[in-house]
């Protein structure tokens, strides 16, 4: 029966080459089914030993894995619907579907892996395959996003590789993940680097807004909902949580997390593209995860509550964030559809952690950990972050609000969406609204809406009410502005609505601009000057000789070179003891 675990990984892998053919694209929907089946049918501690695979591996479930597998599978299944229905059969979509399934297989494999090599293999497959998802369907901006993503992903993978090597060195070639002893500082630093890139922790985040902004809706959904959560899973498994207190590392995590949490919210508030707003909200959530991990490193006794809270938080964030991206995809087809707008607002509220939503539940579960050190500055910072998150979501709602007659207001924000739609739909014919994608999305909405009531106590429901009130007071002018916006006069009103907000936003914006200029203006100029200088240097020297190695390759030169090297090394051997 536990052979089903192998099918979870194997079925997407085997289907991947088949879905290239447009006629078989529906097979994408089949790929996540074994994962759903194993969630339903297998006991929550099923294990499958595969001693012949890789360096000897095993697949299995435990409590954390089960939850991760659940929400990951849900996100991938629901994102698969628009992949089949909306992406169509144009050139390049076969490649997209193939890589979609490869990334899915990698993601599921690493979740189920019971030892680090399996985890790494899944991690690498997923990371590389996702490159092709970001790139689809091409264009300069996506190429740039893809390049940044690929470079950072490779660096992250190598960092993780070395971390696992160093861990394996102390514990044998393979080891079972939960039984880690306290690793040394290098390992923790490498884990922070390697997985921090995947999570989008500041300052390792540059790929993330680019990728989320460029990727098609289903790809952004799985990137934000499923793939970036892998970092948290890795940390939960590889960090020595609950075994020893590591005060220095704990404080570092807390501060890194806090900086990421607050700065990302600030940067997110000034974005003009709703996708980037969501991207920065993801970065801030990564900060929250790292902050919580830091608190657990400080106080190991909290680990059982903390791990549960983090897992729940990850589930909530995965569903909501992927829902938002899928919803944006639907909205781009028909901005005026009120159902989509209402759904997006519900999701935005959940992400903001408004009372009675999954966000509030997640917050209330995490609260014991967050208040554990009893630092007043941390409480204040978290309060600020909560309010800022709500404002960020208000900003998001404002950006997606269909402004009648203000197309030009939105054009700047969504150029690449327009082009992507243009390439998908033949000019002149309005494509039918993707009804199955909508249905899948509504199912996801139901899951998010039911989340707090199924999983949470009533006492958790009103969490964040106070923060909501404050945020509401701050955001009221904005809401008012949107409310008062009259049809046909969008542009003027839009400016006026900005005027209303000026009191609050403008000083922040101005300050940001000034500090930015003060901090980076000089830097940018210097970098530019240096670059120009380098180029001119290159021109002055002239083009390099066709093959500078040629002289080196002449046999006499090589011979003398070898003699020289020999003498040098000989001296080394004789001198060194």
């Amino acid at each position: 029966m536990s052979g089903l675990l192998l099918a979870v990984v194997l079925v997407p892998l085997l289907l991947a080459p088949l879905v290239v053919h447009p006629a078989w694209r529906w097979l994408v929907l089949i790929a996540p089914l074994p994962a759903l089946a194993s969630l339903a049918l297998l006991p929550p501690d099923a294990t499958l030993e595969l001693p012949w695979l890789l360096l000897g591996t095993a697949l299995g479930l435990d409590e954390t894995t089960w939850v991760f597998l659940l929400f990951t599978t849900l996100v991938w299944s629901l994102a698969a619907v628009p992949v089949v229905e909306r992406l169509g059969t144009a050139a390049g979509t076969g490649r997209f579907r193939l890589l979609f399934l490869l990334a899915l297989a990698g993601n599921l494999w690493l979740i189920l892996a019971r030892e680090p090599v399996g985890f790494y293999v899944g991690f690498a497959i997923m990371g590389l395959a996702a490159y092709g998802l970001i790139l689809h369907p091409g264009g300069l901006m996506r190429r740039r996003a893809g390049r940044v993503y690929l470079a950072m992903t490779l660096i992250g993978e190598l960092a993780l590789f070395v971390a696992l090597l160093l861990m394996a060195q102390t514990q044998g070639v393979t080891w079972s993940l939960p039984a880690t002893s306290a690793p040394d500082g290098t390992v923790i630093a490498l884990l922070l680097l390697g997985l921090g890139i995947k999570a989008g922790l500041m300052p390792l985040h540059p790929w993330l807004p680019l990728a989320y902004g460029a990727a098609p809706a289903p790809a952004a959904a799985v990137l934000s909902g499923a793939m970036s959560k892998v970092a948290l899973l890795g940390w939960l498994r590889l960090l020595p949580l609950g075994q020893v207190a590591l005060p220095e590392w704990g404080m570092l995590f807390v501060w890194l997390g806090l900086v990421s949490l607050l700065v990302a919210l600030g940067v997110g508030l000034v974005q003009t593209d709703p996708r980037r707003v969501l991207a920065y909200s993801s970065i801030s959530k990564a900060g929250l995860f790292v902050l919580l991990l830091g608190l657990l490193l400080l106080e190991p006794t909290l680990t059982p509550i903390g791990v549960g809270a983090l897992t729940l938080y990850a589930a909530h964030h995965a569903l909501v964030k992927s829902g938002l991206f899928l919803g944006l995809g639907l909205r781009d087809l028909d901005p005026a559809r009120p159902l989509v707008r209402a759904g997006l607002i519900l999701l935005a509220l959940a992400l903001a952690g408004a009372p009675l939503t999954s966000g509030a539940l997640a917050k209330s579960v995490a609260k014991p950990v967050l208040v554990s050190p009893g630092w007043i500055w941390l409480d204040l910072a978290l309060m600020l972050a909560t309010v800022a998150t709500m404002l960020l979501m208000a900003r998001f709602v404002w950006l997606i609000w269909p402004a009648p007659g203000v197309d030009d207001g939105h054009r700047g924000a969504l150029p690449m969406l327009r082009t992507s739609n243009d390439t998908q739909a033949p000019v002149g014919s309005q494509p039918a609204f993707p009804i199955w994608s909508l249905a899948a999305w509504i199912l996801l909405l139901g899951l998010v809406a039911g989340f707090p009531f199924v999983l949470g106590e009533p006492s958790a429901w009103p969490t964040n009410a106070g923060a909501m009130l404050i945020a509401g007071l701050i955001a009221a002018p904005l809401a008012l502005a949107i409310w008062r916006r009259a049809p046909g006069s969008g542009r003027r009103v839009r400016r006026r609505s900005l005027g209303d907000l000026v009191v609050l936003i403008e000083p922040i914006l101005a300050a940001q601009l000034w500090t930015g200029r003060a901090l980076f203006g000089r830097w940018n100029a210097t970098v530019e000057a240096a670059r120009a200088h380098l180029y001119s240097l290159g021109e002055r020297v002239g083009s390099p000789p066709p093959d500078p190695e040629r002289t080196l390759r002449a046999w006499p030169t090589a011979g003398w070179l070898w003699l020289g090297v020999t003498v040098l090394l000989l001296l080394l051997v004789l001198v060194a003891p």
Binding site: W52, Y120, I125, G138, L154, V162, A558, V565
Partner: protein, 499 residues
């Protein structure tokens, strides 16, 4: 009757005899030549399978011919020789099929296949050599048998490349010979012994041992393309694709690397070499070669040239594994002997396919080639990802063991070398993959030939890379399965360290 003493000899002759016969065939006897080629290759596979089974169960196979007292030609099979024999035998079969497809309409086929078979016989002889003198003999035969293959096309370029090749390898051969003779006068018959045979020698000889090591290393380093002795390799790129594939994956380069492994483990003994400080020397040379080769590969536009520099870099992983003390690093180096072979031969097959089918020789011409030749490009992708060390392709297993061995031995600089090399490999392979899969194809290929009605190219050209790519994935995925390259390398390391 006990056939065991004849088995190593039979394995060498199974390709040498058909090769000798092929020389006498006319150009037109296509069927007979192909039949002879395939017969030799299949026979060899069967014999090698027999030998693998026997060596695993501890049998001893040894063919011995005394030339004069104190100078014997010995062919014998230990676990290490079997690893190399199995690799060259399997890849020879694949390459033969590929070469038959590749050279179908070109002149001088009998000459080509004759030397081709001799080349593999020499390689197998190197693998099965039981002492250093036998090794030197086959090493020289290999040099001579490969020269006509490099010069095969007969163009001025080919002539020049072949001359450079000969100058390098003959000089290297002389150094190797001098070193071997010198060593033999000091300690007598140099039978390859697990754990080394010099460790017990009196301490007064240690100074000479160090000098001899440099001589031998220079001789082997030429074929193994250690910087600065690598100059011939990029120029030998003028050879036809099957020759390049064989040169880089099985025969010449690999023979040098195999010789270094023999030198360190079975002549000096890895612990004795470490005592003399020679492992550090080897490590520095290997690391330099790895980084330098990758850097050079970055700037090459010619696909085969880029692959050639990649070989320079990748083969030194084997030497790097030998230069780190400890069984895990040894496993990493040994297993790369096989892994590099199957991955690199895949890449060269693909390069040959691009050139033959579309006339594409340069990286900059490869835009959208994945649409036109998806299977070839898929195989190329597997090979390239394996070179970078992306799991689950075999290269990852190498990297893991080398890194782990280095960490265990405390040689953290090796991990840094591995990291830099991985990044550089990514930097020169991923742009190719990007072009091939994500750029739109050009309106017209440089020189398109229709080689097959149904397939993207001729079947004899298509199947070999697909099969070797599959092997590369299987070697990585099933690394822990019995009789995988990794398990076999582990067996060798156990026997080497577990005396």
């Amino acid at each position: 009757m006990n056939l065991d003493p004849y088995l190593p000899l039979a394995i060498v002759l199974s390709s040498a005899l058909p090769g000798a016969l092929i020389f006498f065939l006319g150009e037109d006897s296509y069927r007979l030549r192909t039949a002879l080629n395939l017969f030799g290759a299949l026979l060899k596979i069967i014999l090698v399978g027999w030998m693998i089974w026997g060596v695993f169960h501890g049998h001893v196979y040894e063919s011995r011919l005394t030339l004069m007292p104190g100078l014997e030609l010995v062919l014998s099979a230990d676990a290490l020789s079997v690893l190399f024999v199995a690799l060259s035998t399997v890849l020879w079969l694949v390459t033969t099929i590929y070469a038959i497809g590749y050279l179908e309409h070109s002149p001088n086929r009998s000459r080509f296949f004759g030397f081709f078979s001799l080349c593999v016989s020499a390689t197998v002889g190197i693998a099965l050599s039981g002492n250093l003198m036998t090794f030197v003999v086959f090493y020289e035969i290999l040099t001579l048998a490969t020269y006509p293959l490099v010069a095969h096309r007969g163009t001025p370029d080919a002539d020049h490349g072949a001359k450079v090749y000969l100058a390098y390898t003959m000089s290297g051969g002389v150094l190797l010979f001098v070193g071997a003779v010198w060593l033999q006068t000091l300690v007598g018959q140099l039978t390859f012994t697990q754990g080394g045979l010099l460790g017990a020698a009196p301490e007064a000889l240690h100074g000479q041992f160090i000098l001899i090591f440099f001589l031998l290393l220079a001789g082997l380093g030429v074929k193994a393309a250690l910087v600065p002795l690598h100059g011939w390799l990029p120029q030998a790129m003028v050879a036809p694709a099957p020759v390049s594939a064989l040169l880089h994956a099985v025969a010449v380069v690999k023979a040098g690397a195999f010789g270094i492994v023999r030198l360190v483990y079975d002549v000096y003994g890895v612990e004795f070499a470490d005592d003399l400080g020679l492992l550090t020397v080897l490590g520095v040379l290997a690391a330099t070669t790895i980084i330098y080769g990758s850097l050079k590969a970055l700037s090459q536009d010619g696909l085969k040239k880029r692959l050639a520099y990649s070989t320079v870099s990748q083969v030194s992983y084997i030497a790097l594994g030998a230069s780190v003390l400890g069984p895990i690093a040894t496993i990493g180096g040994l297993v790369h002997l096989v892994h590099q072979g199957i991955m690199k031969i895949t890449l060269f097959f693909c390069a040959g396919n691009y050139a033959e089918t579309l006339g594409v020789h340069k990286v900059s011409e490869m835009n959208g080639i994945g649409r036109r030749m998806p299977w070839t490009t898929l195989a190329f992708t597997v090979g390239a990802l394996g070179m970078i060390g992306i799991p689950p392709v075999a290269g990852f297993i190498t990297k893991w063991y080398l890194g782990l061995g280095a960490a265990t031995a405390g040689a953290y600089w090796v991990i840094v070398v591995l990291l830099v090399s991985s990044l550089l490999n990514a930097a020169y392979f991923l742009p190719i993959l990007y072009r091939a899969w994500f750029r739109p194809p050009p309106d017209q290929w440089p020189e398109e030939a229709v080689l097959s009605k149904r397939l993207e190219t001729a079947p004899a050209l298509l199947w070999p890379p697909v099969v070797t790519a599959l092997l590369a994935v299987v070697a990585g995925l099933l690394a822990a399965a019995p009789f995988s390259p990794l398990e076999w390398a582990t067996l060798i390391a156990e026997r080497e360290y577990g005396r």
